[in-house]
Symmetry: C2
Subunit: 250 residues, 2 copies
């Protein structure tokens, strides 16, 4: 049996690439090693500059250039469909440039945020008020807010103060943050994320997007509040676009 190879442009950060690959495995219908889908993961962190720095105007190269060259290497391996597990790489200044540079190369990059919206529609068809926790840069860029609005949802974003003092710190604090202590995450980080989820719930969110690849490490469920993992959405989209017959039913 020959399957099309699923491409992953990882390294932003390196753990997020592995997390997406793990979710491709989890979302595949398979009982033996040989049933699993081929994945080519290029995790070239050192080549790709800071996405937030570029978007917020620091004088650095557009990360789209490095991402595009990695996509071309995947294309040489025969990959036609790939994903990028990094929210801020989907800022229009980066993603649109990437898409333009790949025209005619035969490789197509699925859009993490658009796939998340599509996934919400599929698993939670009756909801309208969708919250989103993320890093400060994704929050400030409004990536999920505008995508939700464009799709007809009412986005419920935490106030700037919560985004900055609670969510961002829970991710980045050098002592207790999820990036510093990912396995297991600290109680402090966990309770901060839960308090931000409570804030979303109080302001009417019916479900919340965990719009940063680190957040699912700290919280996996929140009682009656469905949590949406964009990496899972992207993993399912990669299977759907390459080998739909192997996609595990929801």
């Amino acid at each position: 049996m020959n399957f099309p190879v699923i491409g992953i442009i990882g390294g932003m950060g390196p753990q997020a690439g592995l997390d997406l690959a793990a979710k491709v495995i989890a979302e595949t219908q398979a009982t033996t090693d040989q049933d699993h889908l081929p994945v080519a993961l290029l995790s070239y962190s050192h080549l790709i500059g800071d996405r937030s720095a570029y978007v917020f105007g620091e004088p650095v190269l557009n990360p789209a250039i490095a991402i595009s060259s990695i996509a071309c290497k995947l294309s040489e391996l025969g990959v036609q469909v790939a994903g990028i597990p990094c929210n801020s790489a989907h800022a229009p200044q980066i993603f649109d440039e990437l898409t333009r540079s790949l025209e005619g190369t035969g490789i197509r990059i699925l859009h993490l945020i658009q796939e998340t919206i599509r996934y919400i529609r599929e698993i939670l068809p009756d909801l309208n008020r969708i919250g989103c926790l993320s890093t400060l840069s994704v929050h400030r860029l409004g990536l999920y807010r505008s995508a939700l609005e464009n799709a007809g949802y009412t986005p419920i974003m935490p106030p700037d103060e919560i985004a900055e003092q609670v969510v961002h710190r829970a991710i980045f604090d050098p002592e207790y943050g999820i990036k510093a202590q990912p396995a297991p995450t600290t109680r402090t980080a966990q309770s901060m994320v839960y308090s931000a989820l409570d804030e979303c719930r109080k302001t009417g969110a019916e479900a919340v997007i965990l719009g940063c690849t680190e957040l699912p490490l700290a919280v996996s469920s929140a009682e009656d509040l469905p949590l949406i993992d964009p990496a899972r959405a992207l993993a399912r989209a990669l299977i759907r676009e390459t080998t739909p017959q192997k996609l595990r039913p929801l």
Copy 2:
């Protein structure tokens, strides 16, 4: 900064490739995404036949053929050093054929089992009696037993009955086995692995190799008995052979 790319031939099973990549991240001295080493992971499970079946004489192709073609793809990406996180792929019938087929291609595959021995010498220089838990095929092939003997160690292998009824079942049982329920592993599987570790301890083992990529998921420590994770040894070897200045001190 340009670093040589670390190659991983994954897919045997797919989770083991991700586990090795995660250990490369963990063993790298890095504080930002950009500090991390480039990794190319090709997880082409569907191409590679069952290693045990071949070794035990079933009429299937030598998996070395598929592994070699994947190594050549890594070589085309510029990879010069790669690892294979699969114990049974290191049976001489497979690994020697692989090495022969890659002569002159410029890519070198580090040897998981030899690197594990080297790692033991480094972290536990004064020990001599080394136990090993593994799948039944690696146990029967005696891969670790002969490597330990050749290096001057006294191997402490569990009796065949324990290898078969306890360790192998803890890994493969369709209900409670680690392959069936990897995250989290079941209490049954955990206590079976612990009882096999106790058996090793009783027969004089001073440390035990977890010679199957699934075992570290069920046990991470065993009181006074040091546990050796070959994937960690291989991750460190890949860094040492490509970018020694980035290897995290022990």
